[in-house]
């Protein structure tokens, strides 16, 4: 179990890792994640499940150098068995049928969005994506984003909000689904609220146990305390208190 079947390098900094775990592959839904320990005494790190093959019992995750994961990429080997792999965790995304969806994110933000986009298309949604070039990870993800969208718009940090805002204003968007840096999500959430467009955000929080014990991933949603690991990772972006999230995240930087 938990054997690394394949390591596909996207770039010097980013790899896609294919892991064998039949239970997780069968159960995983878009929006779910796993928690991995790469060595016996290592940290527990959450990763979005980006793709599954239920028949072969495989799941794919994407690991990006940086994010404190530098040495992990160096020790990963094919046919190695991961000591711990827990999942699928989190509540699955609720993807509507036949709607016009706008996905927004920076590079690593799109990693968890990919399975949502694929599912949305199979449900007859029109999938548009705005990708901002905040990170180098974008480059290697673009082919996949292109493959699962009807329309891809590229933006810079300063034009990003403008483009999204215009699309909503022109009535081209039923719902926005976002993932990325907290500040970016906060601004975009404000804009969707202003324009009265539904919006979900997929939060990427630090986690320790991932099963609701530690409370480190807690976030206020509509005045209620929620845990990203057991109640999320997807929340109504109009209700998330991004300010207190921004404040909390600094402690662990």
């Amino acid at each position: 179990m938990n054997e690394i079947i394949d390591i596909l390098p996207y770039s010097e900094k980013t790899v896609r890792v294919r892991i064998q775990n039949a239970n997780i592959a069968v159960k995983a839904q878009p929006g779910n994640f796993v928690i991995i320990k790469f060595s016996e005494d290592g940290q527990r790190i959450p990763f979005s499940i980006v793709a599954t093959d239920p028949e072969l019992g495989l799941i794919d995750i994407i690991i990006h150098r940086g994010d404190g994961l530098d040495n992990i990429l160096d020790i990963l080997r094919r046919s190695q068995h991961l000591p711990d792999l827990l999942g699928p965790l989190g509540i699955a995304a609720d993807i509507p049928e036949g709607k016009r969806l706008l996905f927004c994110g920076d590079g690593s933000g799109f990693v968890p969005l990919l399975p949502l986009m694929r599912t949305a298309r199979t449900r007859g949604c029109h999938v548009a994506a705005i990708v901002s070039e905040f990170s180098s990870q974008m480059h290697c993800l673009l082919p996949e984003i292109n493959a699962s969208s009807d329309e891809v718009l590229r933006a810079e940090e300063d034009t990003f909000l403008l483009i999204a805002s215009r699309m909503m204003y022109e009535g081209k968007v039923d719902k926005v689904i976002m993932s990325g840096p907290t500040l970016m999500m906060k601004r975009l959430a404000d804009e969707t609220r202003r324009q009265g467009v539904e919006a979900d955000c997929l939060l990427n929080m630090l986690m320790i146990d991932g099963i609701g014990l530690c409370g480190v991933c807690r976030v206020m949603v509509g005045g209620e305390r929620k845990q990203t690991c057991t109640d999320g990772p997807i929340f109504n972006a109009h209700l998330v208190d991004f300010d207190s999230m921004l404040n909390r995240q600094r402690l662990y930087e």
Binding site: E40, Q43, P83, L86, P88, D209, G212, L213, M220, L251
Partner: protein
């Protein structure tokens, strides 16, 4: 389950000394590391009795004809029985007696609130003397067995494959498979009992380490992880199977378990979801739950301080609450080098629910107790980090439904205290997700069971421990596990009798 008090050796042992001579012996004092030394490291504070101490303490036991201690023990250990074996230096014999009723003697000897259970019912109390140190003796017997086993079969830390070689041939009399959800004390007790009764038992654990709260919630200096591992290894030897990283409800559903042929399920998922007080500032950086604090220290880097320690180090640390978890957390803070390690508790010192021994240890280690104080707000500095807490001063009013005097606010009595780290330890809620179709839950999410059989409203599902009773103790959780095992086994046996050929 009581042994024969009138066996020749035991009667002779009683005649060796008069009760008067026995009661004249003062209670033996458990050797402990000095406070100055122990705060510099993570070593177990109580060092355990020496052989001679254990025998002397065992001599104090009067071997009463109608022992109250057994009734005071939630799992009804045969206390005089094992103690008298210690007195005659038959330590394996003592362990054999304990093994019949408990799977975690080394753990219970350390973390049970004996002063409220067995020792509270000891005849010495009635005489106005200190009770027999039952907990210390239980620990002695278990530690003796473990030390001997480890001497004969040294275990390398990670080599679990080796264990399978030395596995005794499991005696599975029955074809039925039963599943246990959660590897904490309740699940382990259930698993041990069911396996000894001859059923195939598999324990599922969501975390990467087995032992549940015994591992993630109790620090090394109170309960070394190696002791929990030993108890688990013993269960593996008798044939219990364990599967870690398997979150029932997610990785496998309850339906999957049924489909895989499990005929009975015991749910012992515990109560570890942290409670908050709902006051301003609880989400500030610098405010964390006791679980976050303890998991980072106990589980992420067991025994290693400094790893993941950046956010965990505070010059002034306040732990909110007065339970065992709060005391554990504040003693961790002392060991992390805090200048001020404080307990903030809304009732008085005497009302604190933590074990008395733990409170004494904390006191010796320099922990400050700010009692009759309740935080009303955590205050941030200009950068948004925690810098202080506002405490509402309280006084004690009339007793509430728990029998303890209710704390009442003193108007306008607010105190501000500077802190760098606040650890919240004000209780726990049942672990999510405990829901499955057809299961009745309480308002807070505890599973409702029949108190006699521990059977839930869903067919073939039993439950016990904190998921049923809310935050409680290791020993009560174990007691539930044993009760559930007995009634599930009875249900199986009745069903088998129905089979006609």
């Amino acid at each position: 389950m009581r042994t024969d008090r009138n066996e020749t050796w035991r009667a002779r042992l009683r005649d060796e000394m008069t009760p008067k001579q026995r009661t004249a012996i003062p209670r033996v004092k458990m050797p402990e590391l000095s406070p100055e030394f122990r705060v510099t490291n993570n070593r177990e504070v109580s060092e355990g009795l020496s052989l001679e101490q254990a025998v002397l303490e065992a001599t104090r036991c009067l071997d009463c004809p109608d022992p109250g201690c057994i009734k005071g023990c939630p799992v009804h250990n045969d206390i005089p029985g094992f103690i008298k074996h210690i007195q005659r230096r038959d330590f394996p014999g003592a362990m054999k007696i304990l093994d019949r009723t408990t799977v975690l003697p080394a753990v219970c000897g350390r973390v049970c609130p004996q002063e409220k259970q067995c020792e509270a019912a000891c005849i010495y109390i009635k005489m106005g003397k200190q009770p027999v140190a039952i907990g210390n003796l239980e620990r002695y017997a278990a530690d003796f067995e473990r030390n001997v086993t480890n001497y004969i079969h040294p275990v390398s830390e990670e080599d679990s494959s080796e264990e399978s070689q030395e596995k005794e041939k499991p005696r599975h009399f029955y074809p039925m498979k039963v599943a246990v959800v959660g590897s904490g004390p309740s699940g382990l007790a259930f698993a041990g009992d069911m396996c000894r009764r001859g059923y195939h038992v598999t324990v599922f654990e969501a975390l990467s380490q087995l032992g549940g709260v015994l591992k993630y919630g109790i620090p090394e200096f109170c309960l070394p992880n190696a002791i929990v591992d030993h108890e688990i290894r013993k269960l593996k030897k008798i044939g219990v199977e364990f599967r870690k990283d398997c979150f029932i409800g997610r990785t496998l559903t309850y339906e999957d378990l049924h489909r895989q042929g499990f005929k009975g399920i015991y749910v012992a998922t515990g109560a570890g979801r942290p409670r908050f007080m709902g006051i301003p500032g609880e989400n500030l950086p610098g405010v964390m739950t006791a679980n976050e604090y303890l998991i980072r220290l106990c589980l992420v880097g067991p025994g290693v301080f400094g790893v993941n320690g950046v956010a965990l180090r505070g010059r002034r640390v306040a732990v909110i609450g007065g339970g065992n978890t709060a005391i554990d957390a504040v003693r961790c803070a002392v060991r992390m080098g805090a200048e001020r390690a404080m307990i903030v508790y809304r009732r008085g010192f005497d009302e604190m629910p933590a074990r008395k021994e733990e409170i004494r240890h904390a006191r010796e280690e320099g922990v400050e107790f700010i009692t009759l104080s309740n935080p009303v707000e955590y205050v941030a500095d200009e950068r948004g980090y925690l810098k202080g807490m506002r405490l509402q001063k309280m006084e004690l009013g009339a007793p509430d439904e728990s029998g303890r005097r209710r704390p009442v606010e003193i108007p306008d009595a607010i105190e501000e205290v500077d802190v760098d780290l606040v650890v919240i330890s004000v209780g726990y809620l049942p672990n999510p997700p405990s829901t499955l179709p057809g299961l009745s839950l309480s308002r807070y999410g505890e599973i409702i069971v029949d108190e006699e059989s521990m059977k839930s409203s869903a067919s073939a599902i039993y439950a016990g421990g904190d998921i049923v009773r809310g935050p409680s103790t290791v020993i009560l959780a174990m007691g539930d596990g044993r009760k559930a095992a007995a009634s599930m086994a009875k249900a199986f046996e009745e069903a088998m009798e129905q089979i006609e050929l």
